[in-house]
């Protein structure tokens, strides 16, 4: 199905790797603004469950999305979601709360495989593809679909 070519001229994308509930995810680095430690989160009553709250990041109000809730993993014990990935979406600032942030890796686009058909529907909606890394799978996240909560996750 996929060709394992090693030519260096091949198109490659750099991913910021994060873990959510023991799974490894990759976010295209072009979409990531910054990585920060979320501090003093303010809950937003009546908000969709994926919205963990809002916080102040250097004078900007950032809406935080709980990735565990978003990807339908069991919600973590308080305090384990130690990191946040800052994303700019339609002119607004969002922070994706994840368990941890790993390294940045470059992967060839041609190595990306389609997502398995039996993937959980919620995960399937936000996944763009899968990389087979050594000993682990990396799921590529589609940031736009993660943030498009209103039309997707809630209905699903």
């Amino acid at each position: 199905m996929t060709t394992t070519a090693n030519s260096s001229e091949q198109l490659a994308t750099e991913y910021v790797t994060v873990t959510v509930g023991d799974h490894l995810f990759g976010l295209p680095i072009s979409r990531v603004q910054d990585v920060f430690v979320p501090d003093r989160l303010t809950r937003v009553p009546l908000a969709p469950p994926e919205v963990a709250g809002i916080l102040n990041l250097r004078g900007r109000v950032v809406t935080s999305i709980d990735m565990r809730s978003c990807l339908d993993f069991a919600s973590s014990e308080p305090g384990t979601q130690a990191m946040a990935v800052g994303i700019e979406w339609r002119g607004e600032s969002y922070g994706l709360l994840v368990d941890s942030v790993g390294e940045v890796i470059a992967l060839h686009d041609s190595d990306c495989e389609g997502k398995p058909a039996n993937l959980d529907s919620r995960l399937s909606r936000v996944a763009d593809g899968v990389y087979r890394l050594e000993g682990q799978l990396l799921i590529v996240l589609n940031v736009d679909r993660v943030l498009d909560i209103k039309n997707g996750a809630i209905a699903a």
Binding site: T42, R43, V44, L46, I54, G59, T63, K150
Partner: protein, 868 residues
């Protein structure tokens, strides 16, 4: 787009708006050469610029209009409605071309020969048949044009060319002569102001908002550290920031007249189209407000004026039959009050048809028959703000298409404002809009509920009430609904925590704080766990994902760096729901009868201060009751004051100040007037009683009106008017008297010496020359003697001849027909108000409502003062 062209478009559009307004004015004052000069100059400038930029179509139009106006100017042609209409057409055509020009950056194809020919013909015809016109002004525009066209066709051709050439020559000389002083005038304006892009100002505002936030954070840090060397410089930074904020805010301020600019033209066109005679009065056009707010209310205002002209005002014949002047009046007014601007739109037309609204509301399924039966008239009238609601039987081109007041209310809601409607059938309709001066920075009350902090915009907050099981104010329950009895009102209560689903319990606790919030005509209490302080907050919009929650209008970063949500009172009010509106209606109906029975009774606050003797003040004069810790009283400038809601509030004492309490709890009666308050320190608050107020022994002592029997005990009635000026010497004078050029004379009629004594100093302080008499017959005698008064204020319930009879008698005399009559009464029922309107009262004010009285007087005498 070419910079030059953009500049031209901006300038020309502005000029044309001025021309529009000035032309309408000019039509009314055809002898005013200044107006004509101004119009002429503007049109001339437009013509010149068009020539320079190579815009032949515009140039030709401007030229033709100018030629016609030059005939007015040299007096060879009188100003007629016909001619003005034609010029206004030309202005419209120019605007059309300009908008095309803006889109495509070049003049659109097309010819204006028709219009130019009409203009030339008109200029040519000159004075010849100018005596005739005006009457077709009442017809529709199309008719007018047809008639013109016919007139043109009938006139032989060649003359027009010659005529067109002639004014051209004349006009070439005229501007040359006055060129010099024109230039001077312009350069003067130019040197005083510069044109700055709106983007630049917006950018500045954002930066200042950030600066304010950072400043707040720094202040917070220093506060926590206690003594620090940063304290002094930070204080300076804080002051400078505040001034900067103020300054930047001011650059964004524009007079509301700018939003009104197009109205005279709209009204004139409507008057012509509808065949009505309409006068548009604009008061307070120089009242300033934030650009952003101005933009948002512009269209709603135009819409409301259109509605008034179309539906509100009756046709002339109907007006005459109803005994009203043939000419209908639409009045717009604007003034500042605290951090808000109050805009009024009123007409003297037929008012709202409550029966029809009821019918429509029922048909549209907005309420059930049972609901409607319980509602008061104002509540039913509020249905006009429901989506898709229009009572117009006939859909006209002007209004009545069912898009209307709901859009108006939405626009106003969005900027955190409120709108109230007040209508008396057959007498007129008035809307009162209250909006914040600016949207970017607002004052908010920080509260806590369910463990989270929230900000409630101060604009919506009426007062704070603290409740616990044993306090005077208690939470009562009707089945599951919690209510608070507060003075004469029964307020529905919502728990903020349960509304926002914070915590598990849905129950409303028995103790805590109630923030009394008013949204439109609805007042309700929001229960919170604690109240912190008020803070100037910078409003940041909600993320798009969270916007549809509806309970929050935005969020903000507090001084300590945390983010909190701003409660949207409109959203909460919707959640409180129709059920409470119905409940309030029921309540209003129930106590209606009691109210009439107790009309003579007054709520009195009984207390002790300075001596064991009981003292009392009318409760309605008191804004709040507070208890403060004596240790928080500070002495500054030799006066005792406390920090209260972020301001310094001076304290005044009855009796000897040295004997004032030094420790423990100090009860205060707080009197507030817009942004100022003063605390009257008393020893003990005894009770609130309802009793008939009958002063039996008058007093000469300052500060005491006299003694009365209250609940069987002799009680001194305290003259609040004496104590307030002790705190602020200009208490009564400041805003009312400052603008007053001459004293208005006022005749006050009241059989009760108490009220005469209470109102006289208040009215005098507000700048009125007051003559007080004890009865209607005395008042009539004075008027018959030829004494002239600018305004008459009278009590309703008087022995012998009552207020209604007096008003009718005064109305009967042609001499006094224009004198406004204001009724004072303790009966505030809609029926009584209705009867008052019929009897000819211009306004109806509750007896103790000093602020409303002053406001009503100000409004009724506005004409007199302007004329003076």
């Amino acid at each position: 787009m070419d910079d030059l062209l953009r500049e031209f478009l901006v300038e020309t559009n502005e000029s044309l708006d001025v021309v529009d307004a000035e032309l309408v004015r000019f039509e009314q004052e055809p002898d005013n050469a200044d107006i004509l000069d101004n119009i002429f100059r503007l049109v001339h400038t437009i013509k010149g610029t068009c020539g320079f930029l190579g815009l032949p179509r515009l140039e030709a139009l401007a030229h033709a209009a100018e030629a016609l106006m030059s005939r007015f100017r040299d007096g060879t042609m009188p100003v007629t409605g016909e001619a003005v209409t034609l010029i206004l057409f030309t202005v419209d055509r120019v605007k059309e071309i300009l908008s095309e020009l803006e889109k495509h950056q070049r003049e659109p194809e097309g010819a204006d020969a028709d219009l130019i020919r009409s203009l030339e013909r008109m200029a040519d015809r000159g004075g010849a048949d100018a005596a005739r016109p005006a009457q077709w002004m009442r017809g529709s525009r199309e008719d007018a044009l047809d008639e013109l066209e016919r007139a043109f066709r009938e006139t032989p051709g060649p003359v027009s060319a010659a005529a067109a050439a002639e004014p051209r020559d004349a006009e070439h000389e005229a501007p040359a002569v006055q060129k010099d002083d024109e230039d001077e005038h312009e350069s003067k304006i130019a040197s005083q102001s510069i044109r700055v892009g709106v983007d630049t100002l917006e950018g500045l505002m954002t930066m200042v908002s950030e600066l304010v936030l950072t400043r707040n954070q720094l202040l917070d840090i220093v506060r926590r550290q206690g003594d620090s060397e940063f304290k002094v410089p930070l204080q300076r930074l804080s002051n400078v920031t505040a001034e900067l904020q103020d300054g930047v805010m001011r650059t964004r301020m524009q007079p509301i007249g700018k939003a009104w600019q197009k109205l005279p033209r709209i009204v004139r066109d409507l008057a012509t189209e509808l065949g009505k005679d309409i006068e548009l009065e604009l008061h307070g056009a120089d009242t300033e407000l934030d650009r952003q707010v101005l933009e948002r209310i512009k269209d709603p205002l135009a819409h409301m004026v259109r509605n008034s002209a179309d539906h509100g005002l009756e046709p002339a014949a109907e007006r005459v039959a109803a005994g009203k002047p043939e000419k209908g009046t639409i009045r717009l007014s604007a003034y500042h009050e605290g951090g808000h601007i109050i805009i009024g739109v009123a007409d003297d037309g037929r008012g709202l048809d409550t029966a029809r609204i009821r019918e429509k509301a029922l048909a549209a399924g907005l309420a059930t028959e049972a609901d409607l039966d319980k509602m008061t008239e104002p509540q039913i009238q509020n249905f006009i703000f429901a989506p898709g609601f229009s009572t117009a039987r006939i859909v006209t081109s002007v209004s009545g298409r069912g898009v209307g007041m709901d859009v108006v209310r939405n626009n106003i809601d969005q900027i955190g404002g409120s709108i109230d409607v007040h209508s008396v059938r057959g007498q007129g309709l008035s809307f009162t809009i209250k909006i914040p001066l600016t949207l970017a920075i607002v004052s908010a009350l920080i509260v806590e509920a369910g463990g989270e902090r929230f900000a409630i915009p101060q604009l919506a907050v009426v007062e704070l009430v603290r409740v616990n099981k044993n306090s005077e104010h208690r939470i009562e329950r009707i089945k599951d609904a919690a209510v608070l009895r507060l003075r004469n009102e029964l307020l529905p209560l919502v728990g903020l925590a349960s509304l926002l689903k914070l915590g598990d319990s849905k129950a409303i606790p028995d103790k805590g704080f109630i923030v009394v919030v008013r949204v439109g005509a609805q007042t309700f209490g929001v229960m919170v766990d604690s109240v912190f302080h008020t803070e100037e907050i910078v409003v940041k919009p909600m993320a798009s994902k969270l916007r549809r929650i509806g309970m929050f209008s935005g969020n903000t970063i507090l001084g300590d760096g945390s983010v909190i949500l701003i409660i949207d009172p409109n959203g909460v009010s919707q959640a409180v729901g129709v059920s409470s509106a119905a409940a309030a209606g029921e309540q209003a109906g129930d106590d209606h009868e009691d109210r009439i029975a107790e009309a003579d009774k007054v709520s009195l606050l009984v207390f002790r201060a300075g001596s064991p003797q009981l003292k009392a003040v009318p409760l309605s004069l008191v804004t709040r009751l507070e208890e403060i810790d004596c240790e928080t009283i500070e002495v500054s400038d030799g006066r005792r004051m406390v920090q209260y809601r972020g301001h310094l509030m001076p304290l005044v004492h009855i009796g000897d100040e040295d004997r004032a309490k030094r420790d423990g709890v100090q009860p205060l009666l707080v009197f507030a007037d817009s942004d100022r308050s003063v605390g009257l320190a008393v020893d003990e608050i005894v009770d609130i009683v309802e009793d008939k107020l009958d002063i039996q022994v008058a007093s000469d002592r300052p500060g005491v009106l006299g003694s009365a029997v209250v609940r069987g005990q002799a009680t001194e009635i305290v003259d609040v008017g004496h104590f307030l000026p002790l705190a602020y010497t200009d208490w009564f004078r400041r805003k009312d008297a400052a603008t007053r050029k001459r004293e208005c004379s006022l005749l006050l009629v009241d059989d009760s010496a108490f009220f005469r004594n209470m109102l006289m100093p208040v009215l005098k302080a507000a700048g009125y020359a007051v003559t007080a008499v004890a009865g209607a017959h005395e008042a009539l005698a004075l008027l018959k003697q030829g004494r002239a008064f600018d305004v008459l204020v009278t009590d309703i319930d008087m022995p012998g001849m009552d207020g209604f009879a007096l008003a009718e008698a005064v109305r009967g005399e042609p001499r006094f027909q224009d004198m406004p009559v204001i009724a004072l009464s303790s009966i505030g029922s809609p029926e009584a108000i209705e009867r008052g309107r019929r009897a000819g009262f211009h306004d109806y004010v509750a007896k103790f409502d000093r602020q409303s009285l002053i406001a009503a007087l100000k409004e009724q005498t506005a004409g007199t003062i302007q004329a003076a």
